[in-house]
Symmetry: D2
Subunit: 357 residues, 4 copies
């Protein structure tokens, strides 16, 4: 079934494999009259791009996005916006032995079990490269949110055991260090940790935090399209995510009602909250305070260390993965979290226009 | 917008408020020929029902489900199955003062901000009572999954700081103690903990674990309808959930690839895995091993302790909540987790029939 | 798959069989703050009700609609509106022989071929009775459209060879004669025609015309959700419809561009058209003039005359249908056309709120 | 809202304007393992292509389709199939004066009213060129249907007053004459008729008939996703269609039940029908006989004769259209009818896999 479309009023449909002609996305339902340019989208894409940072794969793709439709004289027309990024750096020989061997931690076996065949080149459809289309779509959503004073920001809050210290939070630091951490000190320690792991032919898990500011109260639909439910789908749809948290997240288990409840207060004549354990969402609807999301990413499954696995023929074999692989997923994935969050909020913002007479 | 429908091929549409005529659900897309009875559904509903257990609210509703359509001579006909549970125990005076005061931790303010009005009686649409419809729908899904050897089981794995010991896991214990914990010892300690909290007019967070066995490899669609993405939406759509984890969940942040990767092995002539850190899902598609899900529930926001809040008029006021409220959400919510998980898996099982020529 | 839900932002999900517990509908996505009452809905339902008119089946059901949720103190709350009409007049013995014989012109055989079983009592899900839920939903849509000055009116424009004369159009006549024709003279002739057919144990085809006034320019989405495409689905989803026309309809085949094009003119300072061959829709989007729809209904397939058919066992048999059957479908179906049209327009009206920045 | 996606399990999302970078479509949900090639798709596209025939516009586009994803080693992989056709023949100056003038019979005014701006070059999104993407998607659906012995064939059955004689039906003739008529004699008369109209700077309406053979009984979902309802949306979504008929269509109005009912008979041990007034669909579900569809196309609205209209400024003006325009829409649209029909049937065929246990 069609599982490549996300959103209800604002939708994105992504397509493309790692080693095909390209990667793309069709954004439908974007309101007419929004100023947008390839440069704006490219800027967000560049933050996802491999090759530019110490801990990202050295694949040097240009990754230039082209807008193919839906924008006329610099403004959206209300019709579908098709965007494409050509694949320019496929090394067709790179992954050849993977046709018949199932990589641990990857979807190779699952694809074969599901479809009876798979495009094994570079992970095919389940390659991280698929997310380039999402980021292009997310850039449009972010542009739309800007018009309403809503801003989405994601960063790496932990790499393995090295977590950022909230007291050292410095937003500008995020784009300054290769690990996208807002705490220079933590970034340095995390870099050292990763170097050790790389020497051991291993990889690390990581955590991405996402904050949305400026969201008005009222976004999200009761019951199944709750803001957190839609964000849950959005973030879990990013490969390698194994946990999603809103507000205090997992810590609520050990908390008490008297602590966890955020008292409502009046602030500048508006309803606000004294604390934000809820992460800006109550009963699935935004409450006007910051939305707080955390995503836990598993360690990169492609490690150079020899691993045990099985072949498509049902033989137990040893596998050594070659090629280009980041030792940690969070830094490049943080912009994907940002994109998926922006898209989800933008969709619910438009939907919210229909809720009252 | 219509946010009351869940699922794609198999759908449920829930309706109803806490204090209206009743609560119900329409299940559409259930295959024809499935044996189902009101008794089967009632049994699952009874596990969610308040009144039967020490730590659940003493509201004594009959909560009898009626099948109104879609079943003929004991079998589903392929047409929509409408089910209804009448509300029989509304005390209309109970919640009167809540018309004008926003309860901390509840959606009252958000509903007003969104819709400009709300049915304040008993929490209206955001009442936990809405989940009765989901459980009825989930029972049908569970019945369908039985035909394919798939079984969903949820239980409370932690109440506040008291966690079950996996070494003491005893499935039969789940339905034996009022906290639905599979570890009699933990259940006893948790009960003592809750009693203390209740004396302090407070409430506790909790964790629900859900295990799905018998799932064939291949369920879930790449990209946005990944099995974990759909489960993410399903579980986060349950009120009070603040974190969802798959497999090792949040622990992957501190893990390494060499540890986290599950080696594929051959077992009884089939592809299997040596470990299951992934929780049965790789690249969003089931890998044939057990699906493992954990949900963190915040403490019940309705506590009897006086709280600070604001009124609809924008006055800062004190609020004392009365009425009937569980001191912990997990025990009753565990069956909702089971229902939502069963429904999600059943939907993807049907969708999977269309993936190959 | 779930085919019982219609609409995108405003949805209805119908359920129920002719001889089950009842018939119902859940309307989701209706904006909050709309005044609505059971009486308003009942009035529209009464126009569909059998038993009140000479040419409708004498089944005397009360057909009382109950609103079960989503309305609080006379206003919609934005949450799903569940409505139910109990079945009170089932004669379980009426249709017994139809369990094993396929009625010509009915879906009996198709249901068996599709599902392997069917609820044969009274046509089950394919009974005209299913449309009661649609009319209840349509009444809410009509109420919503009133707020925006949009009005939907349907009537019978032809019964067999007897067509209304546009020159004799009298709106008040529609609810005065049992055939819902706006031309008293035509209604009389049609009645005589039907009496003759009934004596011959036969039935007649009919045509329903629907006019929507007050529609602003801009409704309908380019490409697949064109206003006429959505109306096409809506009207063809009514049983027995074999043709749907917009504006000049089938007559355009023999027309010329110079005749068929409607010249734009200025009228009262607004863009208007000199003629309306297009039926108010250009390129799938409303142009601000009246929407004109025509639906052709086949003759009632249940005729008392003996017919040739086959049994479920594959035997060729003779069939004599008994029971209660209208000799013409249009009069009762006209209100269903009105309901489906109103619902479609209301959905697109809400969707249109999201098209511009 | 997103109105550029069609289908439920098998979906297509089209994008592109007449004068942008290109036109494209993403087909999602196509089962894995289907053999498909660019050549197969190109062949269907070539039948839609302008320039090759006497009565089609002389715009000589290469219209070469490229498959960008979802096909690996000649077979579909189950992931989205992205296809693109570059625009190579835009004459940017052609349509300049249309920026400020509303062409009668076109959607120019409606787009402005809806979006507040429009891409006026070549009709933008409402250009017939958008249908190229549909045809590419339809070719994949047709390929899929072949695997199940289902075949879709459309042709022009009338041009203005010149209708084909069913007695002269010759399938091979369809691709032999420029008007795609299966009756050589009618084609000749229609050609003469069109020549006269062209001399008069006018255009003609036309009718397209579509026949689907080999459809098993059981396709289509009761109620809103009836086979005819889905076909109704599909065909009405093609620009310029003003009427859609199934089986006897509009003629049923004057028919009687005793004539219109098709008697079931046994044929070669299978249930069949003596006649096919129903056009292969009963109660919205296929009955195993041929599906018969007819679509009425309005005359080409772009005529060279001077017309009255208004400008975007609200001035009444005269308009003379220049450029390239077919004098009749049916011949090129017939392949679009074929594509939309094939796609609809393929979607319902896949959906039908989920209807029984």
């Amino acid at each position: 079934m069609a599982g490549s479309t996300f959103g209800k009023v604002l939708t994105m449909t992504t397509w493309g494999e790692s080693h095909g002609a390209g990667i793309g996305v069709v954004v439908d339902g974007c309101p007419a009259g929004l100023s947008i340019s390839e440069e704006y989208i490219q800027e967000m894409l560049d933050r996802r791009k491999p090759g530019g940072r110490d801990f990202a794969t050295p694949r040097a793709e240009a990754d230039r996005v082209k807008i193919l439709s839906g924008v006329f004289e610099g403004k959206t027309t209300g019709t579908p916006i098709s965007m494409m990024i050509e694949n320019t750096s496929q090394h067709s020989g790179d992954y050849g032995n993977l046709a018949t061997t199932y990589r641990p931690g990857h979807a190779d076996y699952c694809f074969d079990a599901k479809y009876g065949l798979r495009d094994y080149r570079g992970g095919g459809r389940s390659s991280g490269r698929e997310t380039a289309g999402r980021v292009a779509a997310g850039a449009i959503a972010a542009r739309l949110l800007e018009e309403f004073g809503i801003r989405v920001m994601a960063y790496v809050s932990a790499v393995g055991p090295v977590a950022c210290d909230p007291a050292h939070f410095n937003e500008e630091e995020i784009r300054r260090n290769p690990l996208c951490m807002p705490d220079a000190d933590a970034a340095e320690k995390a870099a050292a940790y990763l170097k050790t792991l790389m020497e051991e032919q291993d990889s690390s898990g990581s955590e991405v935090t996402c904050i949305v500011t400026g969201v008005p109260a009222g976004l999200g639909e009761p019951v199944f399209d709750k803001l957190d439910a839609r964000l849950g789908q959005a973030i879990f749809s990013i490969g390698a995510v194994k946990a999603v948290e809103i507000g205090d997240g997992k810590a609520v288990v050990e908390s008490r009602g008297s602590t966890n409840n955020d008292s409502f207060i009046m602030k500048d004549g508006k309803v606000s909250k004294k604390t934000n354990h809820a992460g800006g969402i109550l009963g699935g609807i935004s409450d006007g305070t910051d939305i707080l999301i955390r995503a836990s990413f598993k360690p990169t499954p492609s490690i150079f260390r020899e691993q045990e696995t099985v072949s498509a023929d049902g033989e137990e074999v040893k596998l050594s993965i070659r090629g280009r692989h980041d030792p940690v997923i969070g830094p490049r994935a943080s912009v994907v979290v940002e994109a998926m969050t922006a898209f989800t909020i933008a969709d619910l913002l438009l939907i919210n226009r229909t809720c009252k007479l």
